[in-house]
Structure formats: structure tokens, C-alpha cells
């Protein structure tokens, strides 16, 4: 139920997001235009020919004027502009498509993060000081100690190369990514690599929270009433144990969004993260700024979303 206070809070946050996005986009716009080089120059395109192209794409205008034109394009035409690298290609459909790919990868990674993290955390807590606990907490430590790009590279080496050689091309992790959204097989390894890193933190926090909760009186009371362990753990303990987990959802989502930049580049996934890096190298200014702006919007809304989830998980929180 959205209260008036909540609506005001959301309104304030939206204004803040808009302000942040404008600041971020201008900052990025300014910086990328200051980078040396451009998208057009070649042995055949220089001198007068280059000046013609710079003029055509408005790149000879002062940067604030270019930014103003870019902003006008967004608000008046819903257009992020045209690509400089792929001459004249409208980039809005391009980045929206890439956003959907990144969302699919990020969403899957998030499911893996929460699924693995919470499951491992609960199991480790209920089997405290057993081999299960030691194994799962060790996996968690590995998870948050090893960067996702290392997991990704090892995954490719093991499942893409070694398994392929071992089975003489019979079974292997298929590379490269095919089409826009790949296949379930192609998605699995990058999603695990992206999600595994943050799942370690969730495991650790869930375990600690569960250990705290299952020693509470109401849990003892539930058991005394004769409820089976499964019900006690899943219905009574877990919900309260998830409150601290929710508190790190924001950083977790942001970690997945930013982590996708690396993972998408390693696996060649045609998402925003890959585009972000490519566009910088290609001096495709409009694309770089567009992608960065979308990231800023995503992170702003992710934080807002997590803040709203708090109120659902913990009714004591009110805005």
C-alpha cells in the first residue's frame, strides 16, 4: 500500500535521479569529447574530408551546445542521437536492445545470487559447525574473494577448453554467444560468474542472520508447539533473517550491473556493458553517453526499488 509519505519520498527520489542523471551525462559527455582522436579519421579521411564529417555531425560545435542538442534530442524526439562509428545509425533502438540483453543476464545472475546465497546461508546456519557449514562458508569465502572475471576465465578454460578436449568435442561450454539473447547453455556460465561473486556475501549475511534468528524465543516457542524444522526455518526464521539480506540488495544489484561490463566483454555478450567499452574505443560519443546515462538511470531506480522493498520486508520501515 503506497502511503502519501511513500509517494512524496518516491517523488523526491525521482527528482534526485533526474538531477543525478543530468549531471552524470554532462560529465561523461564533456570528458569523452575531450578524449584525443575521433571516430572518423583514417588514412583516407583527414584534412578537409574530416572537417566535413565533424561539421556534419555537429562535432565542431562547442561542447555545451552539443550537449544541449543531445538533451533536446532526448526530450523532443526520444532520440539518443546517431552513431558516429556506424554512420548515422539511430542508437536508441540499439541501446534498448542491448539493455534487454543485459537485463536478462543481470536478472539471471541476481536469481543465482539470491538463490545460491540464501540457500547456502540457511543450510550453513542450520548445520552450524558441521562439514556442511564449513563447506558452504568456504565456498562463500571463495565467492566473494575471487573476482568475477577470474571465475569467468576459469569457467571458459574448464568447461570450454578442457572439457572440450577431454571429450574430444563431445561436451563443452559452447562459445561464442549466438544471436541477441544466446541460449540457456550460453547464458549459464556468464550468469554464474556474475552471480557467484555476490552470492558469497549473501551466504555470509544470511548465515549470520539465521544464526541470530533461530536462537530467538519465538523460534523456540514454534518448535515447542511441535512444528517441523522445515516450517520453523522457512516460514518463521527465514523471513526475519532476510531483512539484513535486503539491506545489501542495493549494492548487490549495482555490483551486478557494473560487473556485467566485465562479464559481457569476456563472453562477448551483446549487452550494454560490452557496448560501453566498445563505444569508448570507437569514439562513438553518443553511444558512450547514452549507455552511461542508462546505467545512471538503472542504478538510481535500483536503489529506489531496494528502498521500497525494505518497507515490504520490514513493516517497521516507513517513509
Amino acid at each position: 500500500m503506497l502511503t502519501r509519505g511513500t509517494l512524496i519520498y518516491i517523488g523526491q527520489r525521482l527528482v534526485l535521479i533526474l538531477f543525478t542523471v543530468l549531471m552524470v551525462s554532462f560529465g561523461v559527455f564533456y570528458v569523452v569529447h575531450l578524449l584525443p582522436g575521433n571516430a572518423f579519421v583514417s588514412d583516407r579521411v583527414h584534412g578537409q574530408a574530416l572537417q566535413l564529417l565533424l561539421h556534419e555531425y555537429g562535432l565542431d560545435l562547442p561542447i555545451p551546445v552539443q550537449y544541449w542538442n543531445w538533451i533536446k534530442g532526448i526530450f523532443l524526439h526520444g532520440s539518443l542521437g546517431v552513431s558516429l562509428y556506424i554512420r548515422g545509425l539511430p542508437i536508441t533502438p540499439l541501446v534498448l536492445r542491448e539493455l534487454s540483453v543485459s537485463a536478462m543476464l543481470g536478472g539471471t545472475a541476481l536469481i543465482i545470487t539470491i538463490g545460491l546465497g540464501v540457500t547456502f546461508g540457511v543450510l550453513a546456519a542450520v548445520r552450524q559447525n558441521s562439514w556442511v557449514d564449513y563447506l558452504l562458508t568456504s565456498i562463500a569465502v571463495v565467492g566473494y574473494s575471487v573476482p568475477s572475471f577470474v571465475i569467468a576465465s576459469l569457467g571458459i578454460l574448464i568447461f570450454g577448453q578442457w572439457l572440450n578436449n577431454l571429450t574430444n568435442g563431445g561436451i563443452y561450454y559452447p562459445e561464442p554467444w549466438t544471436g541477441t539473447y544466446g541460449t540457456l547453455a550460453e547464458l549459464s556460465l556468464p550468469a554464474i560468474a556474475l552471480g557467484f561473486y555476490t552470492s558469497g556475501q549473501i551466504t555470509r549475511i544470511t548465515r549470520a542472520a539465521m544464526l541470530d534468528v533461530i536462537q530467538q524465543d519465538y523460534i523456540r516457542t514454534a518448535r515447542a508447539k511441535g512444528l517441523v524444522d522445515r516450517v520453523v526455518i522457512l516460514r518463521h526464521a527465514l523471513r526475519n533473517a532476510l531483512v539484513p539480506v535486503t539491506s545489501i540488495l542495493g549494492p548487490t544489484v549495482i555490483g551486478i550491473i557494473t560487473g556485467s561490463v566485465v562479464i559481457e566483454n569476456i563472453f562477448g555478450i551483446p549487452g550494454l556493458g560490452k557496448e560501453f567499452v566498445e563505444s569508448i574505443f570507437q569514439h562513438d560519443y553518443n553511444v558512450t553517453v547514452g549507455v552511461f546515462t542508462i546505467y545512471a538511470v538503472l542504478i538510481g531506480f535500483a536503489n529506489l526499488g531496494v528502498d521500497l522493498v525494505y518497507t515490504v520486508v520490514d513493516p517497521r520501515i516507513r517513509y
Binding site: 583527414h46 555531425y57 546517431v82 556506424i86 538463490g115 524444522d229 526455518i233 569514439h283
Partner: protein, 601 residues
């Protein structure tokens, strides 16, 4: 108090299932005999096409792909011979196609040609395409510069307006298209006329011995486009797929048309059924994945697994790194499927010869500058370079002049005096012209980082240190466009330089790189010699058989003036599965797709 062990099993099982889902398996196509049932060619490229519009195409990937969609009046065959394409014959004075003064070309067109959307083709399409290219002022517009009225069209077309948004960009092309549709005389080159539907007459402002080859450059200014298709979307027509029954799209007269395009991701081309030309394409479809260059290792694995049929097409033959090449060679299943082909690309070191504002010890024509340039050239053993850096796999020593082996104008193995490694003479020259070492102190070698450029730079640094005792600092540039920009404006004292030929004619090298006759010239060294320019002007006007001696004279002038240090000729490496026939490359470009077929495997 514990969860049942089955829960743990289930959790682990979920991960196992997910991992198993990640596992695929290879499969091949089969057919009862000969050709494979599936004639779909698949390969990756490592660069998105900037544009397929022949009037504006620049990068190799643009033209290597679009050469299968667009035709020219003539084209290069697999052995780089000029053969008729849309024209009935290659014009010459003997067949009456070129007038005795060399100024008028009469071109007869094949009568049965159609665009691959069914539109008819005639001489008007040639006029439209070439006038449009002249007006667009793209990277290869100078290929048309000898045609009478060329400059007037460029002037009339003007410059594009500065864009306020994407609509602003379109307006320039839209205006041009409107004028061309209305046959606006200001955009018609006076030297280009169509006496009838199957004849084109080209009148030159001055004799031009290289024009025929330049007009034949695939996917470029000489290629023929369909006016109706372009008019549907003057800005982006080339990125639109061709849909039967609908106007627009990337329409040419070639054997393939674009059926799907996902920017920065993939391209699909389909065979034109009942195509007018020959050989008729066997492939029904060509699927191209657009990848980041860093994906090459994974792609080689995918190629081995059968996901791709070849690697290296689309101007990506230098992407296979030495470790990958060794990996393929070391695998008995695939070793024979690695194809090596010399490429028409030469790399050398340029000196600043003619840019006073940049200065440096090599600048000018004094005996000291010349002597020092020669010392630095003779101190480099490019045979050792090819062996050390390229392992004699990715390049060959450039010993026969700047023009690559196999091309018109190649001087012959070992014919370039600057390629003769002579450390003793080099040291002696240095001692003579810079006895104190003052002039050659603080020298820098500038290059764009990446690929072979880094190990080549390190090799050169070592050569100059070892053979001359001169310490040269390395000045890598992580941004290639900035490096090119600086190099073209003469900002480097000593820099990596190179050229990949466009068409098989010495003019492509001597004019673009050290001349000032075509614009924009890429004269990075600033070399400007009246004798050179005079000979170049004469040679450019003569048929190649008469001009060759003069072009060789130009090569000698460059060598005598020690304008460069020859390093290496590039060698292309393709991974081509053995079941492909007709796939490969010459020094210029990939073999056309309509020559390829997939055999049963």
C-alpha cells in the same frame, strides 16, 4: 534440528543441471553426396561495418562484405586481373573502348542485368551512382577525380550542414537525392553521359592511366547502387534489409542481398535466386557474427567445434595471433586448414622529411639529414624482424620496395637498397653525420599500440641501440585515430607507417603517400620533390605498361632520398575448414562468396 540431506542434494543438483545445460555438442551437416545439405556459410568478423554505402565506405570490412552485393563496371578476379563485371568488356584502345588520346571511354553494359530486388539496370544507374559518389565526397571520391566536371559537382554539392539532431544529418543526403532525382545539372559530371540505355561514355579532364583500376575498386565509389532503394532512406538505406516486394534496403546487382542486420551483432546475406551473373552462387546464405577482437580465441575454439566455417574473411586475416596460429598448426585435425596468403600491405618507418615545424635530425634534404636517415635504415635487419617478431608466419621482410610482392610495381626480391642490413655502414654514417651524438639524442619512435606494432617497436629500439648505439625512446599511442591524425599532420619525427593497397596500380601508392595530385593525400613524411611530382604526373596519365618504368623511377627517388625504412609485408592467415571449396583470398580481398561451396563433411 536439521534439514533433510535431500535438500542439500537438490541444491547441488540444481547447479549441476545448470552446468550441464551449459554443455552443448558439435554436429555436422551431411548429405548423400558431394555438396553438403546445408549451404550456409558462417564466419565472424571483428569490426562492425561503418557503412556499406559505396559512396562513403572506408574500412576493409565494409568493402570485403559489400563486394558480394554491389558490382562495378569491371572487377578484379581472384588473380587480380581486371575483368568485365557489369560492362561487356574491359575497354582498351585496341577494342575501341578508349579513344586514341586516352580521354574518352566508351562502356557497353550487359543487357541482362537486374538489381537484386528485381529493378532493371541501365546506363542511367551508372550515371546516378557515380554522380552521387562525387557529390557525397566520401573517402574514395578521388577515384572519380579525373572525370570532366568532377570538381564542379563537388562544389555544387557543398558541405553537409552541421547537425542539430539526427534529422539534420539526413537533410544533406535528402537534398542531394532530391537534386539527383530531378536530374539537377549541377550534380551531373559533364564527362559522364549515357548515349543509350546500354552505353556509358566517360570523358576525362586529363588522361588517366590508373582510373580504370580505381573505378573497379569493390564496394567503393565505382559501385552501382539502385536509386529507388537509396531514395527510401538516403541516410541509412545501406543498413536496411531487402524484403521481397518492398522498396528500399541494401540493393545491388551482386549475387547476394542483405536479409537480416542486427547492428554490432550479426549480418545475414541470402543468395539472389536466378542471379544474372556467373558463377551462380552455391551458398544459400552467409551468416556473419560481429565480435570484439578479443573474442578471437573463443572463435577459434568455435571454429574447431564446427560453429564457424572460416576465420579471417571480412578484412580480419591479421587477427589470428601467433599463439593461435601455432595452436591450429599443432592440432593434427586442423593443421592443414590454416591457409597462409601474402597480403598487399607494407609496413615501414616514416621519417619527418618535410615538416619544418616538427623538425628533428632527419628533416630536410641536407647531407646530414640524408646520411642519418640512411644510417637508421641500414641499422635495421628486417629479415631478423620477420623472424623474431612474426616468426616468419605473420609477415615477410620487405626487401622489394614499398609495393608489396605480387603487385604491379614490385621491384623484385632484394631490390630495395634500404632493406640491405649493413650495421657497419650504418655506424659509419652515424659517426660521420653525428659524431657527438647530439643530433640523435632524445629521439622517439611513435606508433599505435597493439598487434605487431609493440614487438616491432621493441625490435627497432634494440636494433638502433645495438647497431648504432643510439637510444630511441618508444612512444606508443593507445588511440589509433589520434596516432593517425598526428602522423598525417607530420607531428612525428619517426613513426610507424604503412599502406594496404586499394587497387592494383602503383598510383595508389606513389600518389596517395608521397604525391600531392590526389586529395586528401596521406603524405606523412612531408616529402615534396619537384622531380618526383613531375614524373608522377606523367606516369599517372599513361597506360600502365608505358608508365611502369616511371613508377620504378619514383621508387628509386624515394629510396635515394631515404624517405622510409622498409620493415615487412603482411601475411594473412585464414582458418578455413577443408570442406569449403572456393574460399580463400588474394593479396587484395577475399574470394567472392559466389565461388564458395560447402562439401559434404
Amino acid at each position: 534440528m536439521s534439514l533433510r540431506p535431500t535438500k542439500l542434494t537438490l541444491s547441488v543438483g540444481t547447479i549441476a543441471v545448470l552446468l550441464l545445460a551449459a554443455c552443448g555438442n558439435g554436429s555436422g551437416t551431411t548429405s548423400s553426396s558431394g555438396l553438403a545439405a546445408s549451404q550456409v556459410l558462417k564466419f565472424p568478423v571483428y569490426q562492425s561495418a561503418g557503412t556499406f554505402d559505396p559512396g562513403e565506405a572506408d574500412a576493409e570490412v565494409d568493402t570485403e562484405i559489400s563486394q558480394n552485393v554491389f558490382d562495378n563496371l569491371w572487377r578484379f578476379d581472384d588473380k587480380l586481373n581486371l575483368v568485365p563485371d557489369l560492362a561487356t568488356e574491359v575497354p582498351s584502345q585496341s577494342n575501341g573502348g578508349i579513344s586514341s588520346d586516352g580521354l574518352t571511354f566508351t562502356v557497353h553494359l550487359k543487357p541482362n542485368v537486374k538489381f537484386n530486388n528485381g529493378d532493371s539496370f541501365s546506363s542511367k544507374d551508372v550515371l546516378y551512382s557515380w554522380n552521387r559518389s562525387a557529390a557525397l565526397q566520401g573517402p574514395y571520391v578521388s577515384n572519380l577525380s579525373a572525370i570532366a566536371g568532377f570538381a564542379a559537382v563537388q562544389k555544387a554539392a557543398g558541405s553537409p550542414p552541421s547537425s542539430k539532431n539526427s534529422a539534420g544529418v539526413t537533410s544533406f543526403r535528402q537534398t542531394l537525392e532530391n537534386k539527383l532525382a530531378a536530374n539537377d545539372p549541377s550534380l551531373q559530371m559533364s564527362g559522364l553521359t549515357a548515349p543509350d540505355a546500354n552505353t556509358v561514355k566517360i570523358t576525362l579532364a586529363n588522361a588517366c592511366g590508373w582510373c580504370l583500376t580505381a573505378w573497379s575498386l569493390q564496394g567503393s565509389t565505382g559501385s552501382i547502387v539502385d536509386q529507388k532503394a537509396v531514395q527510401t532512406d538516403p541516410e541509412n538505406w545501406w543498413s536496411k534489409v531487402v524484403t521481397p516486394g518492398q522498396a528500399g534496403g541494401m540493393v545491388g546487382t551482386g549475387p547476394f542481398y542483405m536479409s537480416a542486420y542486427t547492428a554490432k551483432q550479426s549480418l545475414t546475406f541470402k543468395r539472389v535466386n536466378n542471379w544474372w551473373g556467373s558463377p551462380k552462387p552455391t551458398l544459400t546464405e552467409v551468416d556473419i557474427a560481429i565480435h570484439d577482437p578479443s573474442a578471437i580465441a573463443g572463435d577459434v575454439t568455435a571454429w574447431e567445434q564446427g560453429s564457424y566455417d572460416l576465420i579471417g574473411y571480412g578484412g580480419n586475416s591479421s587477427n589470428l595471433t601467433y599463439p593461435l596460429i601455432q595452436g591450429i598448426k599443432g592440432n593434427s585435425r586442423f593443421a592443414s586448414q590454416l591457409i597462409t596468403q601474402p597480403k598487399g600491405r607494407t609496413t615501414w618507418v616514416s621519417f619527418n622529411v618535410g615538416w619544418p615545424q616538427t623538425g628533428g635530425p632527419f628533416q630536410g634534404s641536407s647531407a646530414t639529414a640524408l646520411g642519418l636517415r640512411k644510417a637508421f635504415a641500414l641499422a635495421v635487419d628486417n629479415t631478423a624482424l620477420a623472424s623474431t617478431v612474426c616468426h616468419n608466419v605473420q609477415c615477410a621482410p620487405a626487401t622489394g620496395g614499398l609495393i608489396t610482392k605480387g603487385l604491379i610495381g614490385y621491384l623484385g626480391d632484394g631490390a630495395d637498397p634500404l632493406a640491405k642490413f649493413d650495421a657497419t655502414q650504418a655506424k659509419s654514417l652515424l659517426k660521420q653525420y653525428d659524431p657527438t651524438g647530439k643530433l640523435t639524442a632524445n629521439l622517439k619512435y611513435s606508433y599505435n599500440a597493439g598487434g605487431l606494432n609493440d614487438p616491432v617497436a621493441a625490435f627497432l629500439q634494440n636494433e638502433w641501440q645495438t647497431n648504432l648505439g643510439v637510444s630511441v625512446a618508444l612512444d606508443p599511442s593507445s588511440d589509433a585515430s589520434q596516432f593517425i591524425s598526428n602522423r598525417l599532420s607530420g607531428k612525428y619525427v619517426m613513426a610507424r607507417d604503412g599502406w594496404q593497397f586499394d587497387y592494383n596500380h602503383p598510383q595508389d601508392w606513389f600518389d596517395n603517400l608521397w604525391g600531392y595530385l590526389v586529395t586528401p593525400a596521406a603524405n606523412t613524411s612531408g616529402f615534396n620533390d619537384p622531380t618526383y611530382n613531375s614524373i608522377l604526373k606523367q606516369a599517372d596519365q599513361l597506360p600502365i605498361d608505358q608508365a611502369l618504368a616511371q613508377y620504378k623511377q619514383l621508387a628509386k627517388i624515394l629510396a635515394d632520398n631515404v624517405v622510409y625504412i622498409p620493415l615487412y609485408y603482411s601475411v594473412a592467415n585464414f582458418a578455413i575448414r577443408s570442406y569449403l571449396t572456393g574460399a580463400g583470398s588474394n593479396t587484395q580481398a577475399d574470394y567472392y562468396w559466389n565461388e564458395i561451396s560447402i562439401q559434404q563433411h
